[in-house]
Symmetry: C2
Subunit: 395 residues, 2 copies
Amino acid sequence: MTDNQRFSKEEYLQRIRKTREKMDQAGIQVLLVVDPANMNYLTGYDGWSFYVHQGLLLDMESPEPLWFGRRQDSNGARLTTWLSERSIHGYADEYVQSRYTHTMVFVASLLRELGWGSRRIGVEMDNYWFSARSFMKLREELPEAEFLDATNLVNWVRSVKSPAEIEYMRQAGRICEKVMNLAVDSIQPGLRERDAAAAVAGAQISGTEEYGGDSPAIFPIMPSAERTSTAHLTYHPDRVYQENDVVLLELCGTRYRYHAPLSRTVYLGDPPDDLKKTADVVVRGLEKTLEFIKPGVSAEEVEAFWRSCLAGTGVEKPSRVGYSFGLNYVPDWGEHTISFRPGDKTILTAGMTMHFMPGIWLDTYGFECSEPLLITDEGCETFVAIPRKLFIKGR
Amino acid sequence: MTDNQRFSKEEYLQRIRKTREKMDQAGIQVLLVVDPANMNYLTGYDGWSFYVHQGLLLDMESPEPLWFGRRQDSNGARLTTWLSERSIHGYADEYVQSRYTHTMVFVASLLRELGWGSRRIGVEMDNYWFSARSFMKLREELPEAEFLDATNLVNWVRSVKSPAEIEYMRQAGRICEKVMNLAVDSIQPGLRERDAAAAVAGAQISGTEEYGGDSPAIFPIMPSAERTSTAHLTYHPDRVYQENDVVLLELCGTRYRYHAPLSRTVYLGDPPDDLKKTADVVVRGLEKTLEFIKPGVSAEEVEAFWRSCLAGTGVEKPSRVGYSFGLNYVPDWGEHTISFRPGDKTILTAGMTMHFMPGIWLDTYGFECSEPLLITDEGCETFVAIPRKLFIKGR
């Protein structure tokens, strides 16, 4: 299958229809999309070119969005998107990381040429790929335009997955199983941490016999020992696993940029009682919560239910315990929309995909056991089949 | 060695002294640093936590900068930085990707508490990690402050490397050699592209016997066939290498987040004459340019010299042909400061590290052969020892 046949054209057009519905609700006439996952979602574009400014322009009537990017990346747009030639606009290299001009000068002139220079323009205000200067420059260049905040507008469209997307996420789940089993099986005292991480990184890409993997939006997070007391450290490049190490594994499989993330914990030796107790409480709470999750309940109700499972156990989990995930690029597989946390009133519906992730980070070690799940018509089902437990590896 | 002993405290203090010199020149009293490479450079902080807002605050007098980040990442700051406990400020999870508040509300209140709320504050305006909303929110919360553009201020300090940094980049060079040799040796007709990419990704992390690798700032870029006609596509997850494929390899070694990038090209079969000719022209031009590069010449003079090597050959390279590189995180190992391109007046000095990267992307294929190099007292030396040629692999 070629890159631009991962989804039918009908599916892309439906995504655009849904995006325009949200634009209409927000009073946005033209949407500037710079998030690479949103660009991929609407057009299929798939390249490691987001380190320079690039994006899509979508109005309310045109048959397709317009892609702009560095000229040397234009062939990437031709190869990976369903867009026609007239919609691909490469800019000259002088706009790249320049001290004299800015890519948004090019974008503003494109908007004026299209007659969109004084429209109500939606921009992704809180996005890695829309810098403060991008916004100031665009505002300066288009004094007649009105700018509206479209942060996560397309992300919200992405939050309910199509059957084709769910199929790719299931394939990512198969890759994730292979990756997690490999990690759990190989980690043992005496092994260099980097060799375990290398095996994981390779397995993420080679995938399964049927399904090739993609590079993940988050590198393998696999800290050991005291490094497990915090959320986002990884393996130590010069360390060897020791007896009585706790090792956290926050890994994923990725298929066509769709993720299936999973966290598990390994103990190398005879685990201390408090870790065993924490593991028991978390796994039991996780399993009860999975039974509770169904369409119609709100995201905050899931968190409240989870918290009620912990009541009286002495285990506390003060941060959010899950988030929406799917298609993504670095630095995050999360979609920045729905969170399992107090105050999130989003009502779960079939087709949403959530990573239920109750990570516990204590003063001296952590414990993680998570599940990526799909909201179904009746409840939820998980994407990955790996036992929910503290993995104990003796001598 | 523990994470916070990668450099001496003296070296960190010198980096801060140099940063303050630049702040002084720009009239900046307080610098907000959000770029993760800049955070690492000044404090050692090293975690995959930049997908939420975090940063440093550096004024002109305090003995050390102040770190702020998500509370669950605070132990990461304790483990990886040289900062004392009083400089580590974790914020509550309610600030994470919230629809009700923003991390910059927390940062503004921190600035006010420190008595810095009405100072001249430098911010990294054109940075992936300083969104448009971050800036608008900070300005709204601190109406008395004056904001100045400090884009790449710390990056410019980073552009001249210390002996300790150069040593890590040399170690990254050893890793890069291993990675590139593995790629060139293994790629052949019949091999699945993803298996070659998996071997590369694993080797980047396992490193050499002496030096453990880190995850790279750019994933392996290794397109084949028509995908080589553009700059930033990678392996195809479902494809097998074919006879007469061109394969581009833009890879790196990474040591403690310091990079040694390298590009090479492989042809599987008997290469067409125009590709052989392009390769000859590029390699000859590259080698002559390496002899030309020395302290005292400007970046644009290097590009002009390179262009003169191409004159009359029929080969054209219209984009910039190199950039400063070193310590970095996704999405780019480039430092966004010095470029080999017309108009860049930066005078090369000893200790600068540049990736000379004359990538050629034609309509149907590309050719890449690059060198990462250190400006020395007399000229330049390369970080990686791999033959400069089109690698031809027959049956």
